[in-house]
């Protein structure tokens, strides 16, 4: 087995507030192999975007990493000085955010933003950088790239902008791309184009992807493995097909059952009553216990860690062999 590209071990992220410290990510551990696509799903507030932000070193203060470590190709990156992290971001880790309009500077042409990124990270001349930028735009499927490179972001449609953002993320040939809800702001027909583009490009460039999304459909057809987050912890992690079709954690089961499917008729959707707890009121024991249909006494007292559950790993006392 090859060594993982990204290793996250016992990552904790906390937010100190006046009313005490909130633990937003609690003991998150996972790996991403080179070239692998790992999906991270969860409902709003589960901590999925925060996980991405911690990896690329863009946690919004007062949020801070309170424990654990993040390693990229064996090198520890969570405690790097600001300048080194800056050099690494973009060069070895690329980022794609949800809203393509806010991740592009409206005052600079697309070409200037691309060449700036390329020249910051790679030792190439201005002319070479421009050639490279045009090639990248062509690769991402932007028609007439030679002309469009000198246009401004507002002259591009939403789908085209997201293609530019993908080109930017890939500009310096990073080993890992953190994509945070890259298709959420787009229509379904465009979403399909962007997802297949992202998949194809990352394969061609050999980049691994951490894909953060709330859309299980996108995960199902894009990812190799998926991590399900709940209240700042990983509830279940494993190969996509196993997590979707044979989930071990009751939360995953509920999540899958609550998604209306295209190929079956159900009078009612499976529903998980209640809502995810707020960070200042995480219940004792398993965070899911107040909503869990299979709750036991032990769940209210002791917090389960990730345990082997067939093909996946789940944090649930149910999976313990009796």
């Amino acid at each position: 087995m090859t060594s993982p590209l990204l290793e996250v071990k016992n990552l904790r992220v906390e937010f100190p507030t006046r009313r005490g410290t909130l633990l937003a990510l609690d003991d998150i551990s996972f790996d991403i192999a080179p070239g692998e696509i790992l999906g991270v799903v969860g409902e709003s507030g589960a901590g999925k975007s925060l996980t991405g932000a911690a990896i690329i070193g863009l946690l919004e203060p007062p949020g801070r990493i309170a424990g654990g470590e993040i390693r990229l190709a064996g090198q520890r990156i969570d405690n790097l000085p600001h300048e080194q992290m800056r050099a690494l971001r973009g060069r070895r880790i690329g980022a794609i955010f949800q809203d393509p309009l806010t991740s592009l500077n409206p005052l600079y042409t697309i070409g200037r933003q691309l060449t700036e990124t390329i020249q910051t990270h790679l030792p190439v001349s201005a002319a070479e950088a421009r050639q490279r930028a045009i090639r990248l735009l062509q690769e991402t499927g932007i028609p007439a790239a030679e002309q469009r490179i000198d246009q401004y972001p507002h002259q591009f449609s939403g789908g085209m902008r997201q293609r530019v953002v993908i080109a930017l993320a890939l500009a310096a040939e990073p080993q890992l791309i953190v994509a945070d809800e890259p298709t959420t702001a787009l229509d379904v027909s465009i979403q399909a184009q962007i997802i297949s583009l992202l998949k194809r490009l990352c394969k061609n460039h050999g980049a691994a992807v951490m894909l953060v999304t709330h859309d299980m459909g996108v995960i199902a057809e894009t990812c190799d493995r998926v991590a399900v987050l709940y209240a700042g912890r990983i509830a279940e992690i494993g190969p996509v097909a196993d997590v979707i079709h044979r989930p071990s954690h009751p939360y995953t089961t509920g999540l899958m059952g609550s998604i209306p499917a295209m190929d079956e008729d159900r009078e009612r959707l499976l529903q998980i009553d209640g809502a995810m707890p707020r960070l200042n009121a995480i219940p004792r024991g398993c965070a899911f216990n107040p909503r869990c249909p299979q709750v036991m006494d032990r769940c209210r007292e002791e917090r389960p860690d990730l345990m082997d559950a067939g093909a996946t790993r789940a944090a649930c006392w149910k999976v313990v062999p009796a």
Binding site: E43, S44, S157, G158, G159, M160, D187, V188, S189, I190, Q191, A192, Q193, I195, S196, H214, D215, M216, G217, V218, I219, A220, E221, T222, V240, A241, I244, H245, G254, L255, M256, G257, S258, I259, P260, A261, M262, D263, R266, E267, R268, L269, L270, Q271, I272, D273, A275, M276
Partner: protein
């Protein structure tokens, strides 16, 4: 049986011209967006019609036209056999409008943050003078809240004390206050997480069963539409391109756009399947393509498609009750 809601040739045009001075200086003409352009459909009592389409296709405008938030540029909306035209006396319209209510997309924006839930839900009752007295009002609001799975005690709380799903239930309770027959739901679950979406969709279905409600359900999510709808209308750039019973439209979509939409949805049960993404994007509605507005993206387009606008109609060979606006279907090319 006459349908509860009947919409004929509905159109809405928005003036999006530049300010007068700019027009004079730059010698620009006035510009209009045809947000809804000749849409006709009807909804039987107790049924759900869902309108789907991508952003900018005019589905929300249709919703607003139906409840009277916009005045149509052209066409008519008949509710229970009566016209809802703004030319009718205001008193008659008030009675009519009490029988239809709307649920909006964003439960964070549609509830007044300074009002208690009691006042929010009671507003339509007060507005229409339906419940006399504070005690009776409280009882009625409590009843409404229980219907949507909240507690009577929630009356005294403010919207910020609720989660997104609970807020959407408050919106539903408010919409149900006047005992309407027809609810227009504009993307009621798209701001919610999936597990919460399931709760809200289940409540809406239960209410429909118990109270015989009729829904117009606007959504961009085809899986949700497939779950809630009886009839489905697919919109593209202000027009209906296909409408028919859910099972037919989903099992055997006829219009190339419907096929494309269905193809484009990522489905959790098709792990590893590669989609064939459609090329192109929705054109600018300010400057829609000639003929069939889908022709620049359509794999079956020919010269006729770019010249002549297809009408929504039934065809031989197409399932009963399904109407399609496509030359290729008419000519039997697809």
């Amino acid at each position: 049986m006459t349908p509860l809601v009947e919409v004929k040739d509905l159109a809405k045009t928005f003036d999006v011209s530049a300010p007068w001075l700019n027009r004079v200086i730059d010698k620009q003409p006035r510009r209009y967006v045809h947000a809804v352009d000749g849409v006709s459909f009807s909804i039987e009592r107790g049924r759900t019609l869902a309108l789907v389409g991508e952003s900018g296709c005019g589905k929300s405008t249709v919703a607003r036209l139906l409840v009277g938030l916009y005045a149509p540029t052209q066409g008519t909306v008949q509710f229970d056999g009566q016209s809802t035209s703004a030319e009718r006396p205001a008193a008659e319209l008030r009675v009519l409008r009490r029988r239809m209510q709307m649920i909006f997309q964003d439960p964070y924006a549609s509830l007044n943050p300074r009002w208690k839930v009691l006042d929010i839900v009671a507003e339509p009752l007060r507005e229409h003078g339906l419940v006399p007295g504070a005690d009776a009002m409280r009882t009625r609001v409590g009843e409404l809240l229980r219907q949507v799975g909240l507690a009577e005690a929630d009356c005294e709380k403010f919207p910020h004390q609720f989660s997104g799903g609970q807020r959407q239930r408050i919106s539903i309770a408010r919409a149900l206050a006047t005992s309407p027959e027809f609810l227009v739901c504009d993307e009621p679950t798209s701001a919610l997480d999936v597990s919460v979406q399931a709760q809200v969709l289940n409540i809406m279905k239960d209410l429909q069963r118990r109270q015989g409600l009729t829904y117009l359900f606007i959504s961009h999510n085809l899986a949700v539409v497939r779950h809630v709808a009886d009839e489905v209308g697919v919109m593209y750039l202000g027009r209906l391109v296909e409408i028919g019973h859910k099972s037919e439209v989903f099992a055997q979509p006829r219009h190339p756009y419907t096929r494309m939409l269905l193809d484009a949805i990522p489905d959790i049960h098709m792990s590893g399947r590669s989609r064939t993404p459609v090329q192109g994007e929705v054109p600018n509605p300010l400057n829609p393509p000639s003929g069939c507005s889908f022709h620049p993206r359509c794999p079956h387009a020919n010269a006729r498609c770019s010249a002549e606008r297809p009408a929504l109609q039934t065809f031989k060979g197409v399932q009963i009750g399904v109407q399609v606006a496509c030359h290729a279907v008419e000519e039997g090319r697809i």
